[in-house]
């Protein structure tokens, strides 16, 4: 490694453009709709002024980009093993990250970065906001070298050298997802997400077209008319089929964009994952920093032997939004049983052994059935008596009743934990059946709870809190749960194994 990171250095000079573009992009995004409306409605002189304004904005953005570039420096303190970033034009920010706290180093290349030929480097730590540590433009060579330094700096020098040597030799992908597999993944997974996306998109399209028509002052309810006529033209069956096709198409496109050319390889002691069609995303993570290992499979995936895996890492320290939580998770969208086992062996050292299984009491069903089935039925039946229009939909209500009940029941039969000496496996799900695996020494704290009316029945609940989220098992035999809790406490408290 000839590159020296101990001196403060700037980004690649291309950073000026990247930073400028970044700011400009933010500005444009914020003003897009008003600007578009303005341009549509404005006359020539106003347009000219707008053009000047836009040019001025671009210049300003570039000036900002230049200043940001000047003031942004980073270096690695070899003595303290700290990575230091100083940034900010008006208010300076001094960021220090201990190398040992670094969980993950991502090297990405966005569209503009691809054009210019630079890379973006992001550092994930437990606790800190990942956006804070974001070097937007450095050359590929420096990015790779820096990543090596950051992830291996904490090890003894001898190990480091071996690590680098082997990393150049053995980069055979452990898991490689072919296009045909991606197609299978697209066809069988994430229906819920795509459905939500579709609804959101449909609503946005409807809303935006209306806005546009309003801007031209000729909105006479054509769209509502069109939608209505659509309903009368197509039978609902065709509409449903169209939605299904659209859903699968979105699913496949999404899968391809996100996971095209997905490769997972062992890189000395870390896992290197790269994927993406438009922007290539590289992720490097330490197997021992994974807190919860999850694999899941639905009915269709079971038929074709496909697994989805999720590696959950620590997000410790503070509350995070749902999105940030997801960013901390590394997903392997599809792998075979053999690949899954190989990966499990890598993360957990060995495959989880057989253990004793604990299932919930049937009273698990009470609350969900009451609140998700009977309450809805009650509301519907009140409406049924008072509003005659609703009563025609009673077949729908019956269908809901049956489906909701069956789903709750399936959820109940799948809910269980399997406990062995080194692992706790929680199974759950209705359609996607997931197995979450944690090692007892990664537990941070344990909660148990019990309703007073379950005391006689000896039923209770337990929740494990880990640095990557909580896992609960409910309505189990409370005596058994307590015995297990005592055992886990013994395991956590008697070993000095580190959780991270």
């Amino acid at each position: 490694m000839s590159l020296d990171f101990s001196q403060p250095q700037r980004q690649s000079a291309a950073g000026i453009i990247i930073n400028g573009a970044y700011v400009a992009q933010h500005l444009v995004r914020a003003m897009f709709i008003p600007l578009a409306l303005f341009i549509v409605k404005a006359n020539k002189t106003a347009l000219l002024y707008t053009a000047f304004g836009i040019i001025a904005l671009v210049v300003l953005a570039l000036v900002y980009g230049y200043l940001y570039y000047l003031k942004f420096t980073f270096y690695l303190n070899p003595l303290k093993q700290e990575f230091v970033i100083e940034k900010g034009i008006f208010s300076r920010k001094h960021l220090t990250i201990p190398v040992e706290k670094i969980q993950q180093v991502n090297i990405n290349q966005g569209f503009l970065q691809k054009l210019i030929g630079v890379y973006q480097l992001q550092i994930d730590t437990a606790g800190a906001d990942s956006k804070e540590v974001d070097i937007r433009a450095i050359s590929g060579e420096i990015a790779q070298a820096l990543r090596q330094h950051l992830l291996h700096g904490q090890q003894a020098p001898a190990v480091q050298e071996i690590g680098i040597e082997t990393s150049t030799n053995t980069d055979i992908p452990l898991i490689k997802i072919k296009a045909s597999t991606l197609l299978k993944i697209g066809l069988t997974s994430n229906y819920g997400q795509s459905f939500a996306l579709l609804i959101g998109f449909g609503y946005a399209a409807f809303h935006n077209i209306k806005e546009l028509l309003k801007a031209f002052d000729n909105d006479n309810g054509q769209i509502e008319q069109f939608v209505k006529s659509g309903f009368t033209l197509f039978s609902i069956g065709i509409l449903l089929a169209a939605i299904a096709v659209l859903l699968l198409a979105t699913n496949i496109i999404k899968t391809f964009i996100k996971y095209f050319d997905f490769q997972l390889s062992k890189h000395s002691q870390s896992l290197l994952i790269s994927a993406g069609l438009l922007t290539k995303k590289n992720t490097l993570l330490h197997p021992n920093k994974v807190q919860i290992t999850e694999y899941s499979q639905n009915y269709l995936q079971k038929k074709i032997g496909l697994f989805k895996m999720l590696l959950k890492q620590a997000h410790a320290g503070r509350e995070q939004s749902e999105k940030e939580m997801k960013n901390n998770n590394t997903e392997i969208p599809g792998c075979s049983a053999a690949e899954k086992d190989e990966l499990l062996r890598m993360i957990l050292d060995k495959l989880p052994e057989e253990g004793s299984t604990f299932k919930p009491n049937w009273r698990y069903l009470n609350l969900p059935v009451l609140f998700q089935v009977f309450l809805q039925m009650l509301i519907y039946s009140t409406f049924y008596y008072f509003i005659p229009e609703v009563s025609a939909y009673y077949p729908l209500a019956v269908a809901y009743f049956v489906i909701a009940f069956i789903m709750t029941y399936i959820g109940y039969t799948k809910h269980r934990i399997t406990v062995s000496e080194n692992y706790i496996i929680k199974q759950s799900g209705i359609w996607d059946i997931s197995q979450e695996i944690i090692e007892p020494h990664k537990i941070q704290s344990i909660s148990t709870s019990q309703y007073p009316w379950h005391k006689k029945l000896d039923i209770g609940h337990v929740t494990f809190h880990t640095a990557a989220g909580s896992i609960s098992f409910g309505y189990g035999n409370f005596t058994e749960i307590n015995t297990l809790v005592n055992y886990w406490l013994y395991q956590v408290e008697s070993s000095d194994e580190e959780w991270m």
Partner: protein, 176 residues
């Protein structure tokens, strides 16, 4: 290499967390809860009073609103009392226990070697009664943390000291 044994563990001989005797919060803490409750209810009463004075429809039904308010206040008092009665905590050799809950009884256990840091918080009213709240944080975020309110300040300090010292031992062991 440390001396290593690997005997079979008899699960029944392990110390049982559910049989630990728990210490209740200081009785004086009930006063703090009542003061807080009183202030909260007073603010609502003022709001209600303003409504009764200025809003026509509320003024007509003032009996209804006042009785609703009284029921709400009584319910809140009872819930607070029940919640206060159920709280308990214990410091064991290797972990901390805290029990709470209004309907469901929830016990949280944090092993000492998983504590990230400990804070001692003294609220305004708590300080008047010489009480403090011990906050114990783990790496699992808010869900697995512990806030033990109403411990006598001297005891809380000793408690904190004990935890912090053990923390030091832990981190030292890790560094070695």
């Amino acid at each position: 290499m440390q001396y290593f044994t690997n005997e079979t563990i008899d699960l029944n001989t392990l110390p049982k967390y559910e049989e630990t005797t728990l210490a209740n919060p200081d009785p004086k803490y009930w006063k703090v809860i009542v003061i807080n409750l009183f202030i909260f209810l007073l603010l609502i009463a003022i709001g209600l009073g303003i409504f009764i004075l200025f809003n026509e429809s509320v003024r007509i039904n003032w009996i209804l609103w006042t009785s609703l308010y009284i029921i709400f206040a009584a319910l809140l008092y009872l819930i607070s009392r029940a919640s206060f009665k159920k709280r308990g905590f214990a410091l064991r050799e290797k972990d901390v226990l805290y029990k709470s809950g209004i309907v469901a009884e929830k016990t949280t256990i944090i092993p000492l070697n998983r504590i990230q840091h400990v804070a001692l918080n003294e609220g305004m009213f708590s300080r008047m009664f010489g009480l403090g709240t011990l906050q114990i944080y783990t790496a699992s975020g808010s869900s697995g943390d512990m806030h033990i309110a109403g411990i006598e300040i001297e005891q809380a300090k000793a408690f904190k000291e004990a935890l912090v010292q053990r923390l030091d031992i832990n981190t030292k062991a890790e560094n070695e």
